[in-house]
């Protein structure tokens, strides 16, 4: 597993969050949290590194020794996560209870995802933001996909935000009486993640095999 290529990091960061992907709504909240913290911590790191280094040339994301950069990332991410938790508690206590111990773990997810942004040394902030955004969306897409599979098959329902008369849960008639409840358990999460990683690896391998379809023939 090459350490720095994005897909590896993505799935690495996903591991703890899978425990929450039993219902789609929890997955949505979790992805929202991760994306929020990821973006803000990226921005904060960018500003901090530029601020502390005075007016030298374009400053690298990892100003100072790795340990210093590492500590700064730790501080920023954990405080942002704490604030997200507080916000979530106020905004949607039910969601906060559902996330449980996995809300604080967003800090670790973001450390993983924010880690080793390729080529951020001398790039304008816009590029780092796009990079982080890409990672965040990748994380959210994977998590919600797994949550969809697990909840639809595992419980026969899809729970979303209760908007007005919508009531929040879509019931799949046939499945709801005898759903594959085993998918809802921890084991199901690991299986879905395993197959998701396999599928994404197959796709990226096939994409690498013939980049634009046409020229692969030389």
């Amino acid at each position: 597993m090459k350490s720095e290529d994005p897909p590896a990091l993505l799935f690495l960061g996903l591991c703890p969050a899978i425990a929450v992907s039993v219902r789609v709504i929890d997955a949505l909240w979790m992805s929202a949290g991760v994306m929020l913290v990821l973006l803000l911590s990226g921005l904060a790191m960018e500003l901090l590194s530029r601020e502390s280094s005075g007016n030298e040339a374009r400053h690298s994301f990892d100003r100072g020794s790795p340990a210093a950069r590492w500590m700064r990332a730790l501080v920023v991410t954990s405080f942002l996560t704490a604030s997200f938790e507080a916000g979530l508690l106020a905004l949607a206590p039910a969601a906060s209870a559902a996330l449980g111990i996995y809300a604080p773990l967003i800090a670790v997810n973001c450390l993983v995802l924010g880690r080793g942004m390729p080529g951020t040394h001398n790039l304008p902030t816009r590029r780092t933001v796009v990079g982080l955004l890409g990672r965040g969306i990748g994380f959210a897409a994977s998590l919600v996909a797994i949550a969809l599979v697990r909840e639809a098959l595992g419980a026969g329902t899809i729970t979303l935000f209760a908007l007005g008369g919508f009531g929040g849960t879509i019931v799949i008639p046939m499945l709801v009486e005898q759903p594959l409840r085993a998918l809802g358990f921890a084991g199901g999460g690991l299986l879905c993640l395993g197959y998701l990683v396999a599928v994404s690896r197959a796709i990226s391998r096939r994409a690498a095999a013939n980049p634009a379809g046409g020229e692969a023939a030389q």
Partner: protein, 197 residues
């Protein structure tokens, strides 16, 4: 909870990897042999025990009296991160193969998820200091058991013609998933009957 209940809960019923899905990467992704697996297990046991007790101390003595409960997350993240780095520096020689093998400085973050997760479980469960210590060690033992089993399975699968897309990390996840189903035989009702009986 009686001691036996704590040990069985954290080792088998609420196994850190299989039911809490924490620290999956070091157990599933690592490539070293059985020795590396033993290294990871030992490292995790010490880390979790230390962070559980540290978490208890931090939480009950500092945060709750001062009312900074919102600061729990940063405090715990710092606690576990520093503990992990300290342990890594302390037994670097004991564990070099594992860190070099995966070549990623991420393991201490991966390990953090388990450490941090355990701290949160311990503090939310209102365990006392000795109970947290025992819980940490039991969780470490459970972690080591699952890591050893997955390493033995991975060594066996390395020489088999496995489907290409699934080779390596995805297959370890599926192995962990099947193991999680197997470990669901140890559920709370089973624990209650065994200890109650």
């Amino acid at each position: 909870m009686s001691w036996a209940a704590i040990i069985l809960t954290f080792a088998l019923v609420d196994n850190v990897i299989l039911s809490r899905l924490l620290g999956v990467w070091p157990a599933a992704g690592a490539r070293g042999g059985m020795r590396a697996a033993a290294g990871v297990g030992g490292f995790m046991a010490v880390l979790m025990a230390g962070s559980a007790v540290g978490g208890w101390a931090l939480d009950s003595q500092v945060l709750v009296p001062l009312g900074f409960t919102l600061l729990r997350t940063p405090a715990f993240v710092f606690l576990v991160a520093s503990l992990a780095l300290a342990l890594q520096a302390f037994n670097g020689r004991f564990l070099p193969s594992f860190l070099r093998v995966t070549g990623v400085s991420i393991p201490e973050i991966g390990i953090n998820t388990a450490g941090l997760g355990l701290v949160l479980i311990a503090t939310r469960g209102e365990y006392s200091a000795p109970e947290s210590l025992v819980a940490g060690l039991a969780a470490g033992a459970g972690y080591f058991l699952v890591t050893a089993m997955m390493t033995a399975i991975r060594e066996r699968l390395e020489v088999e013609p496995v489907p290409r897309a699934l080779k390596g990390f995805p297959l370890q996840l599926i192995t962990a998933g099947l193991m999680a189903y197997a470990f669901m035989a140890f559920d709370r009702a089973f624990l209650a009957r065994v200890l109650g009986g």
